[in-house]
Symmetry: C4
Subunit: 231 residues, 4 copies
């Protein structure tokens, strides 16, 4: 049955044009960012100053929406929602390089729309720069580890249990919110978009480049390691 | 196997008369409302004034019961529990219009029974109007986004991974409780019924119409978009 | 595949003698009670007086262990762990009446062992009567609703998606802990055993009979209703 | 399909050399320890002194990462991450004794790397001995029960529903964090590594031997019992 489902997914993918798949990436990434930023605002507003309770709520909301949107879009666009994932899959030759720009543009546009929606749903300015400082060696190491782990989970599951990826990725990210000092952004599009909301989930624009560099390094390390491991 | 299971579900559906399916919708919706309203009362009672803790409990209870009742009734009635879903499925031609009234009546009756049960289990009046004001642009936008996302999840999953819908919908709603300013009612029957309990999960009767309008618009938008996306 | 798995389960069941299956029921019920009572003690000890936080932890622990033990024992004994379930299944003719006593004895012995283990793990007396009063109409109605819902979930899933029962039951009970005023015992063996620990999850011995009566009534109502619904 | 998947897993295993599988055990165990220790530090830092909230976060993070890494590595190394599991599987004749040392070395090295990473991500010394006393009869009994339950779950699931093991083990451990007085280490490699971080999840080095002894006894008891139960 996994074979049959894979074949069905493949047929579906071939029938869905690149434009539609890029739109799917945009919708999914918009819902992801709305969830991350919106639940951060709600959590901070309600938690009476206990940051652990706020982060628990933020974790639950992110995990729930992540599982739901990967289940929703895996059969349409592959449900990357993450330039690091798109680049890693292309790097391994399992995704056409010529389709990478459309995917990344879709992810970035979707991420911005999602943050704007979250801000609007909570009566904030559509976009306003974050002042949340996130830098220093521990935080940068955290982003490396977080994205290494994310790609490890994806590469480990993609061959033998592709249908479990929605649950595996959501479960991993829920854990990674807590075991990394950076709360595990692990996604360049998410990192850029989160700089545009000065709320719980924000990141100061000046810290964005360092995060993205470590995310790409972490993704590369896991991709190279699993290429050897699964050869 | 998805084909075989779909066929089995179809055969089962054909053998279950409309009356039984409407009763199934009523029971499921009653359990859903009992969960939403009852856990809200319990959560507010125990949480010592920390609204984030109360909403976490309300989220967990809603998500748990939602997954359980969709698993329970998906093979009997399709497990809509939501007029917006019934209308959207009929709009797409995958549900007979002549069966829509029975489903919606079942959902409404069930929702009222569920709220009455929750109120009775916590020694409240069977029905008493809520004073919880929920209006304004951010909240209305929230209901649009919440229901758009719910239908997106349903349309995305229904073709290639119908068996994952119980988990996808529950996970999505758990997230949406936190990332929307309205705590994501996303269901006209739920909205009406929640106006009849002046407790944590209530909504003032005067705000009901606005909620339902945005829910139907959100459902329509997602349905049209996914019709194009999956064509 | 569901057919093949059902056949495998059946073959397995036939090869496992009644004695072994009763022991399996005892081990599973012991782990369930250890989880319910033990996590209640730990939760109350750590939560600094916030009952909602304590019940959240109790809910998570119960749900986790419930899913795990049903997955573990479903292929061995059917994973009832509950006299109301055993009686309901026998009532519907899907379980031999002559095997009912062994199952219920196994469940009762296991429940007592589990409570004793929980008490011992937290340095309490092995058994000591609870003073936690749980009576009155709202609480009794709650036990009826809780057990009705539990059996509804079981009957709804058992035909078309038996493999999802572990998740459905755990998710339902996690919700029911919050949406019923009784925190949803929904199990006569659990009810009896919980009277023997004067801790968070306890119930005064004098309230046990009322609980069990409502649990059996709720189970009967759901069983009769679903017999009609699924005919 | 379970048969087909089992066969695929077997073929995969045969093609993956022992060295690669030991590396897989190391990576997985490193992620597990990073999750346990790192989320403990984060949780204690944010929870404002409420230990129940801290343990809830620690539980969620451990469960999420555990599910994710078993899904990731089950098809590569079997995803033991635990010397007690490796020994139990070898004891039952389902794993070659000559491969046990490589697995345990991989698990120990990975566990140390994971603790070092967690400490580094939170700007602590790479390794520093814990002062968290964990001894006495209740705590030792707890480790016996915790590991008994873990192996029961594994043996119960491994034959009829191997693909559910990631969810069953994660759900069980999330429960066991709360229903045992020791917070359920249930893993000798984890126990040793956690002695090297003087933070929330630590254990004093002098208490390590007692824990490991009870873990091995618990694993042995469950393995012998299930050998009889499943014969």
């Amino acid at each position: 049955m996994p074979h049959e489902r894979l074949r069905l997914l493949l047929l579906l993918l071939l029938r869905v044009t690149l434009a539609k798949r890029a739109v799917a990436e945009a919708i999914g990434t918009a819902l992801l960012l709305a969830a991350v930023v919106g639940s951060g605002i709600m959590a901070e507003r309600l938690s009476g100053g206990n940051v652990a309770i706020a982060l628990l709520a933020n974790t639950l909301a992110t995990g729930g929406v992540l599982a739901a949107i990967i289940l929703t879009f895996q059969g349409i666009s592959g449900a990357h929602f993450n330039p690091a994932v798109t680049l890693a899959v292309a790097f391994r030759g399992e995704f056409a390089w010529r389709e990478v720009p459309a995917y990344i543009v879709g992810q970035l546009v979707g991420a911005l729309v999602g943050v704007g929606l979250a801000n609007a749903m909570f009566a904030k300015p559509l976009f306003f720069a974050s002042h949340h400082a996130r830098h220093g060696f521990p935080v940068l190491l955290s982003e490396f580890v977080a994205t290494f782990g994310l790609l490890a989970v994806i590469w480990g599951c993609v061959r033998s249990r592709k249908e479990a990826i929605p649950y595996a990725v959501a479960a991993y990210i829920m854990g990674a919110y807590w075991f990394t000092a950076s709360t595990s952004f692990a996604n360049p599009a998410v990192t850029i978009a989160r700089s545009l909301s000065d709320t719980f989930a924000g990141i100061a624009p000046s810290d964005v480049v360092g995060f993205i560099a470590m995310e790409l390094l972490g993704a590369l390390a896991a991709t190279v390691l699993f290429k050897w491991l699964l050869r």
